[in-house]
């Protein structure tokens, strides 16, 4: 049995498995599972396949970015040049929305973007898988983002003001009466709706892309490579939409941070008030 026949059998096997309908192309680990169904190690690997592919991406990012940073050349070339281009672009984007104060959030948001983007694109490589096509991966990233955003809010406002903000900044008896309701609404939005929307959007899009590629591959096998150009077109779309999804995640995270940070004009207003208090006007003016 040739390797090609094995591959076709694996595809059909995954596709025709009665307990689970195949939705993705076979990857390295599903092939191993097919060839070594009794191996505990392969089974364990299959159980943690998303983590395995995530670690591949993480290793790539860590090794390449640190390698680029270690070059430390004043006139960058090659790897350092490419990473500087990426970092500069991300810094420009984040500081464009958040202003100069956004510079401290660039590493988090940049890492998040690169991590999601490369995970999305990983599924395009043969025998690889997009870990972001599972909800577990995207919800983990969304939860970390949520915690980071709330942490930024607490750091920027102080804990008491942050709680007041969650309580809807109550004023008067009516405001105080509405505190429980505001708590529920704000906590639901901040800690449930935001991570849910972030994670579901990414998961649904990437898993749909994987399904699309799988369906075209299936059609290619069925119709003797006739729809091959359609698959190429789908691949181009997947490259594009994977980028867009990573970008949307970055954009929304940046916007959430910008919403939770005190507005710049409020700062200016506060500063003006402090100034007027420290230099009170004379009674004649």
């Amino acid at each position: 049995m040739s390797a090609e026949q094995h591959l076709a059998a694996a595809v059909q096997g995954v596709a025709q498995a009665p307990e689970k309908v195949a939705e993705e192309l076979p990857n390295l680990i599903t092939l191993l599972e097919h060839f070594f169904p009794k191996s505990h190690f392969v089974h364990w690997l299959f159980r943690w396949e998303n983590i395995f592919f995530s670690l591949l991406v993480l290793s790539f990012i860590v090794i390449r970015s640190i390698g680029a940073a270690r070059k430390n050349e004043f006139l960058p070339q090659g790897l350092q040049n490419r990473w500087e281009l990426v970092f500069e672009g991300l810094s420009g984007f984040v500081t464009g929305i958040l202003g100069p104060r956004g510079l401290e959030h660039v590493p988090f948001l940049g890492t998040l973007f690169l991590y999601i983007l490369l995970q999305n694109w990983l599924g395009l490589l043969p025998f690889m898988k997009s870990p972001t096509s599972t909800w577990s991966t995207t919800i983990a990233l969304a939860l970390i983002t949520t915690v980071y955003i709330q942490g930024v809010g607490i750091k920027a406002h102080g804990f008491v003001n942050y709680v007041k903000h969650i309580a809807g900044n109550p004023v008067g008896i009516l405001g105080l009466a509405l505190v429980p309701l505001m708590f529920v609404i704000n906590l639901s939005i901040e800690f449930f709706a935001v991570p849910l929307s972030l994670s579901l959007r990414l998961f649904a899009n990437v898993s749909s892309e994987d399904k699309l590629i799988f369906k075209f591959a299936e059609l290619n096998v069925m119709y003797h490579w006739l729809p091959f150009f359609f698959q190429l077109f789908a691949n181009v779309l997947v490259i594009l939409f994977s980028f867009i999804q990573a970008f949307v995640f970055l954009l929304l995270s940046t916007v959430y941070i910008s919403l939770i940070l005190p507005h710049e004009h409020e700062d200016e207003h506060d500063a003006a008030q402090e100034k007027s208090l420290s230099h009170p006007r004379s009674p004649t003016t």
Binding site: I51, I61, I66, P76, P107, F108, G110, A140
Partner: protein
């Protein structure tokens, strides 16, 4: 709820979170900070060098302006000196001309006086000569007895001699 349980594996979520946090803190310390600081240092150096270039440009422009004003001043001075020299030259020429004219006038006057003197001298000499000749003619006439023809001949000879002498 079943959908959540099927799609979200808590262990996987937890490991993903830990993995992401590890990579985030690692590359924040070892990649983001060094690269951003390199870029910042480069930007600052370019800005400072650019500022230096701008300052040098301004200095060069100021120097050029200074040189041009110097050149203009030098040209004006040269022009003034040339004018002065021309005026001096003209003055000198006039003086030389005047002097030459005066000298020529003086030498002309002198020559004229000399000529007049010479003429006077010649006149005196001629008068003396004529007187001498007259005396000699008279002497000869008185000393020699001559006929009228020979007297006439003699007188012509004396006149011819007189012409030769003059």
């Amino acid at each position: 709820m079943e959908y959540f349980q099927e799609n979200i594996h808590l262990g996987e979520v937890l490991v993903q979170m830990i993995a992401f946090l590890i990579v985030f803190f690692t590359i924040k310390k070892f990649a983001w900070k060094p690269l951003l600081s390199i870029m910042k240092a480069r930007r600052e150096r370019f800005e400072s060098e650019w500022g230096g270039i701008e300052k040098t440009k301004q200095d060069v422009a100021a120097l050029q302006k200074d040189y041009q004003s110097h050149l203009q001043k030098i040209e004006e001075e040269a022009r003034a000196k040339m004018q002065e020299a021309i005026l001096e030259g003209r003055q000198l020429a006039r003086e030389i001309q005047e002097k030459a004219r005066l000298e020529s006038q003086a030498s002309f006057e002198k020559a004229k006086a000399n000529i007049e003197l010479e003429v006077q001298k010649a006149k005196i000499s001629l008068r003396e000569e004529v007187a001498n000749l007259s005396i000699r003619v008279a002497e000869k006439i008185l000393t020699e007895k001559m006929d009228s023809a020979s007297q006439e001949k003699k007188a012509l000879e004396i006149l011819g001699e007189l012409e030769r002498t003059l």
